[in-house]
Each structure stands twice: as structure tokens, then as C-alpha cells.
């Protein structure tokens, strides 16, 4: 069934759960280094852990104050109330991703609740997404399934567990049901997650790299027949790890459910897994008795009671809301509506902004991120932000703008940056990419080229300036492209008259 037909018959209702890994130096309840902190994501297995992360006997959790501050800031940025008293709770389940057999989370007393977030869609329409709550918890370890043909759990012989991620501070943000999205429901889901990503990056509380799992989204989707009040049975799609996937997964799930309902079937309440490669979801675990997590207050931790002073201090330090920020940036950069909207829609606003802040011109920053970096990222099926940092791009732009690199050389420097060869300056040095700005070397090459093409020289002397192209080409070739063509042209015309 196509999407429009599905929408004709049913109204989609979505709900989104976003997990944000905080980039504190240490974990939520342990002083182990946090793999979600900047630059710490590639540690060897089980080297970022303490006895607390393993739940060893006698170890006790202690709350990371920075993580509480970050959580409050995020709650405030989402327009939430901050609870005068909030508490941690144990969520009990048996799965080896946590060694304790429970996850420390928050249950009926989350730190933040009742908020809303304005989300701007591609055409500029603003949708207000109601937020139910945002609570603090700890992330779980990573399992690698061994054996089995596909590396998935089916058919695996055993699993290997790395607890580096166990205990990473998380904030889980849960929306209320989002009604009225209609055919834009998939787009709203994507824009909502993109907005949260922008907010946590502006707050500086998460690296927010989706491809590394710093920001993860579970999408709840249900359909109800037109005119029906009661909500339909929902499914929860997990493993949605890019903005593009969120939109696709919600869209797919709407169509899948519509086919079942239209055929007289019923939806099973279950988790579903998104498969990036095939663009479909598959059935995971049905909701069952095992979802009885027997939450109870965590006896090892004390209540969190932020003072009003602290809350107001953090509120005063909040960055501009994304919509206001966008209005300001558009004016500052002098971009046209379409130019600016393209940057927003590409999800590269923060990269462009940081590149400009690091010294690049607005036009050049946009050109690099929207052009070369997006093209390479697309070819490699990764996010542009995973290729280079705004600081590196700004450095390349500055080298181009000061005449030390041509665009062509700059692209080679970018290649080096992506390959991890060092800073742009180091790459220019190591690869010998500097523009030849020594007129002496250029003049020698020009004189040689003119001498070997006397017919061209005659034409130039006759005023046929366009003939100079052949000489410029020869000189650029002799310089291996590392010369500024405009300067070469000037010198060629000068030498021809000499």
C-alpha cells in the first residue's frame, strides 16, 4: 500500500524516545572515564571501567554532579519543569549488557517533566512537540555476537561483553503522543531528533554523534482508523541510527501497519528492528511478562534536590533556542532563504556555524560542508561531521583565502585530513602542497614555456590575449598545479611583452 493510501485510511500517532549520552569526563555513578566524552570513543574493551561498572560486591555508586547539571540544563532547554525532588530507581532485568542485573534509572520521580519543543520542518512550518519527561539513567555495555552467519543474535554460539559503555550518563527524553502529524509524521520525527541534536550540541553536553550511538532514537508508531478516538496498538522501532533512517523507519512502519489493518489483521505490540540496508523493520521481542521491571527506589543513592539558585543559574546560561538561533545566523551570514534552508535541512548548521566561528568566511564554510564534504560523506555512506572537524575545515579555508592553497590543492589537503594525516598545515608540509608563490620559479617556467611556443608568444604580442591559455596550462603543469593560475596569467602577459 502506498503512503498516501495508508494516510487516507488511518491517522498515524507517533511517540519518540531519544537517548542522549552526556559527554562528562566520567560516568554517571562511577569515576571511570566516559567513552562518550570528547575524543575517548575508541578505548580497548573493558579498559574504561571500575568495580562500580561491573557491579562487583562492595562497590557503591555515587552520582556525578556534572551529569546532574547537564540533565537539568537539557530539561530546561526542553521547556520542562525541574523536579524539586527526584530519585533514582532500579529497573530489574536479566541481560548481560549490565552486570548488576538492573539498570539505575528514574521511574516515577524524573528530574524533568512537562515540556515542549518547537520543531521547524523543511518548509519552515513550526510544530510543537509535547515532552512527557526527561530522566537520568546509565547506559548498558555492548555485546558482540559470535558464531551465526550474520553476526546477529540468531544462531550465535556465544556473546562477548565489553562494559566500557556500561554506566555512561544518559538522559532519556520521552515525548507525549504526537497527534496531527499526518503525512508529515515521518518528517516531524526526523526534525525533532535533529532539533534535540542541535540543542545538546549548543549546550555542549553531548558529542551527539548518531553514528557512534551518542544520540539514539526509538520510534513508537500506531495507526487508528479515521474518526476513531481510541489509539491503535503501537510498535517500537529500535536501532534507528541516523536522521535519514528515522524518517524512513516511521514511514515504513506506517505503511506496514496499514497493510495489516486494511487486511483485517491486528498489530502485535512489540519492539521492531530497523535494517538500514534493506529499509525495513523486522519483529523483535513481543511485549510480555518480562517487561515487568519491578522498579523500586535505588537504596544506594540519595534523592537529587536541586536548589532554585542552581536551576536559575543554569537557566540563565542556556543558549538561544534553535529557532531564534537560526534567525540570527541567517541574518549574520547574509544567506538567501534557500541557501540557508539547504544548510538547515542538511543537518550541517552546527558544523557551518563552528567553521565560521573558527575563522572561515560564511560562504566558504557553507561551500565546503554542503559541497565537497557532503559529496564524500554520501559516497562513503557516513555523516559529513564524521569526516573532519569545523576547526580543520576553517584552517583549510583560511589557507585558501590567504592564497597559500588553490581550491584544487585544498581538496587534496582535505583528503589528507579525512585520512587522518594530521592538521591541514602538517598535511600541506608533508605532501608539499603549498602554492608556488615564488615569482622567480614561476617566471623561469613561463620563460621556458614561451620560448618553446614561439607562435603563441607572437599571438600574445599581437594582442590575442586568449592565446596565453596554452602557456598558462604548460606552466601549471610544470608547477604540478601548485600555482595560482591568476598570478601565472598576469606574469605570462608581463613576460610576453618583455
Amino acid at each position: 500500500m502506498d503512503f498516501d493510501k495508508a494516510l487516507e485510511l488511518y491517522e498515524p500517532v507517533i511517540g519518540l524516545e531519544v537517548h542522549v549520552e552526556l559527554s562528562t569526563e566520567t560516568k554517571m555513578f562511577s569515576s571511570a572515564p566516559n567513552p562518550a566524552a570528547k575524543g575517548n570513543h575508541s578505548a580497548a574493551p573493558n579498559t574504561q571501567i571500575t568495580p562500580v561498572c561491573l557491579g562487583l560486591p562492595g562497590s557503591l555508586p555515587v552520582v556525578n554532579e556534572k551529569a546532574v547539571r547537564y540533565s537539568i540544563s537539557l530539561g530546561l532547554a526542553l521547556g520542562c519543569e525541574i523536579a524539586p525532588t527526584s530519585r533514582f530507581a532500579r529497573k530489574n532485568y536479566f541481560y548481560p549488557d549490565l552486570a548488576k542485573n538492573y539498570q539505575i534509572s528514574q521511574y516515577d520521580e524524573p528530574i524533568a517533566f512537562e515540556g515542549s519543543l518547537d520543531v521547524e520542518l523543511e518548509d519552515g512550518t513550526v510544530i510543537t512537540v509535547p515532552i512527557e519527561r526527561a530522566h537520568m539513567e546509565e547506559d548498558a555495555g555492548k555485546l558482540t555476537h559470535v558464531g551465526g552467519a550474520t553476526g546477529r543474535i540468531q544462531g550465535a554460539e556465544y556473546s562477548l561483553v565489553d562494559y566500557n559503555r556500561a554506566g555512561v550518563p544518559l538522559v532519556e527524553i520521552v515525548t507525549k503522543p504526537i497527534f496531527g502529524g499526518e503525512h508529515r509524521a515521518p518528517e516531524i520525527a526526523k526534525a525533532y531528533v535533529a532539533t534535540i541534536r542541535d540543542i545538546v550540541r549548543a549546550l555542549g553536553i553531548s558529542e551527539a554523534r548518531m553514528e557512534r550511538g551518542n544520540l539514539r532514537c526509538d520510534a513508537n508508531v500506531s495507526l487508528r482508523p479515521r474518526g476513531q478516538e481510541k489509539l491503535g496498538t503501537r510498535t517500537e522501532t529500535k536501532n534507528v541510527n541516523s536522521l535519514r533512517s528515522i524518517e524512513r523507519a516511521v514511514r515504513y512502519e506506517i505503511q506496514r501497519q496499514a497493510v495489516i489493518l486494511a487486511g483485517g489483521g491486528s498489530i502485535t505490540q512489540e519492539t521492531r528492528h530497523w535494517h538500514e540496508d534493506t529499509g525495513v523493520t523486522s519483529a523483535g521481542r513481543p511485549k510480555s511478562d518480562a517487561d515487568d521491571y519491578r522498579y523500586f527506589p535505588e537504596p544506594d543513592l540519595l534523592p537529587v534536590e536541586p536548589s532554585l539558585e542552581l536551576i536559575e543559574e543554569l537557566r540563565a546560561a542556556l543558549p538561544e533556542p534553535p529557532a531564534a538561533l537560526r534567525r540570527r545566523l541567517k541574518a549574520d551570514w547574509g544567506f538567501g532563504d534557500q541557501e540557508f534552508q539547504d544548510v538547515v535541512n542538511s543537518g550541517l548548521l552546527v558544523e557551518v556555524e563552528e567553521t565560521i566561528a573558527a575563522g572561515a568566511s560564511a560562504t566558504a564554510a557553507r561551500k565546503w560542508w554542503m559541497g565537497e564534504l557532503s559529496r564524500i560523506a554520501n559516497a562513503q555512506q557516513v555523516e559529513p561531521a564524521s569526516l573532519a572537524t569545523p576547526q580543520q575545515i576553517a584552517e583549510i579555508v583560511v589557507l585558501v583565502e590567504s592564497g597559500e592553497l588553490t581550491d584544487r590543492l585544498a581538496r587534496q589537503v582535505l583528503e589528507g585530513v579525512i585520512a587522518g594525516e594530521g592538521t591541514p598545515a602538517e598535511i600541506v608540509e608533508a605532501r608539499g602542497l603549498k602554492v608556488v608563490s615564488d615569482d622567480g620559479a614561476l617566471i623561469a617556467a613561463i620563460d621556458e614555456a614561451l620560448a618553446s611556443q614561439p607562435d603563441v608568444l607572437a599571438k600574445i604580442r599581437d594582442g590575442k590575449v586568449q592565446a596565453a591559455g596554452a602557456v598558462i596550462g604548460a606552466v601549471m603543469k610544470a608547477m604540478k598545479g601548485q600555482a595560482d593560475a591568476a598570478r601565472v596569467r598576469e606574469l605570462v602577459l608581463e613576460r610576453a611583452q618583455a
Binding site: A44, N92, E157, D289, V304
Partner: protein, 99 residues
């Protein structure tokens, strides 16, 4: 006396991964009922002026600074594990999934 059915005990035992015989289920239903009754007596003593508490000492906001300390090595981490691959814990493939 509180009613605690064997079905409730069976459900809880299942969640806690504890294998119980029919005899044990029946006996525990009675014992758990007695425990609940005793808790109910304590509850009578707590009037509306006593707020719910999960901790005996009135302490809040006990925090730690965000400063990393020493970690275990991977060898130390897996040293007590029945099975491992040198740096990671080896567990049987489980037909479940993360929560």
C-alpha cells in the same frame, strides 16, 4: 491475613529466574503473606504526616566531582569470569535483547 496466590509467587519467581517446586510455591505464598501483613502493621503507624522515604538518613545531593580515577585493566576485569577471551566476558548466546 493477606492473600498471596501461588500464581503471583510463580510470576515473581519467573521474573527473578528462580526455579521453585509446587510445594515451595505454596509454602512461599503463605510466608510472603505473613511478611506483607507485618509491613501493613508498620504502615498503620505512619500517619499522613510521615512522607514516603527510601532512606533512613535525611540526606540529599550527595555528589562526586567529574574527575576520572584509576580504572581496572581488562585482565583484572575478566579475572573472576568463568569464561573470557582475554579482554571481554564470554556469555552464552541469549535469546533476548537489550532492554
Amino acid at each position: 491475613m493477606s492473600e498471596f496466590s501461588t500464581e503471583q509467587v510463580r510470576h515473581l519467581a519467573g521474573l527473578a529466574r528462580i526455579a521453585l517446586t509446587e510445594d515451595e510455591l505454596g509454602r512461599l505464598a503463605g510466608e510472603l503473606g505473613a511478611i506483607v501483613d507485618n509491613v501493613a502493621i508498620v504502615q498503620r503507624a505512619a500517619g499522613p504526616d510521615v512522607v514516603a522515604t527510601s532512606h533512613p538518613i535525611p540526606l540529599v545531593n550527595v555528589y562526586r566531582d567529574d574527575v576520572p580515577t584509576e580504572t581496572l585493566t581488562a585482565e583484572q576485569a575478566v579475572s573472576g569470569a568463568p569464561e573470557h577471551d582475554g579482554s571481554r566476558f564470554k556469555v552464552s548466546a541469549i535469546l533476548g535483547e537489550e532492554q
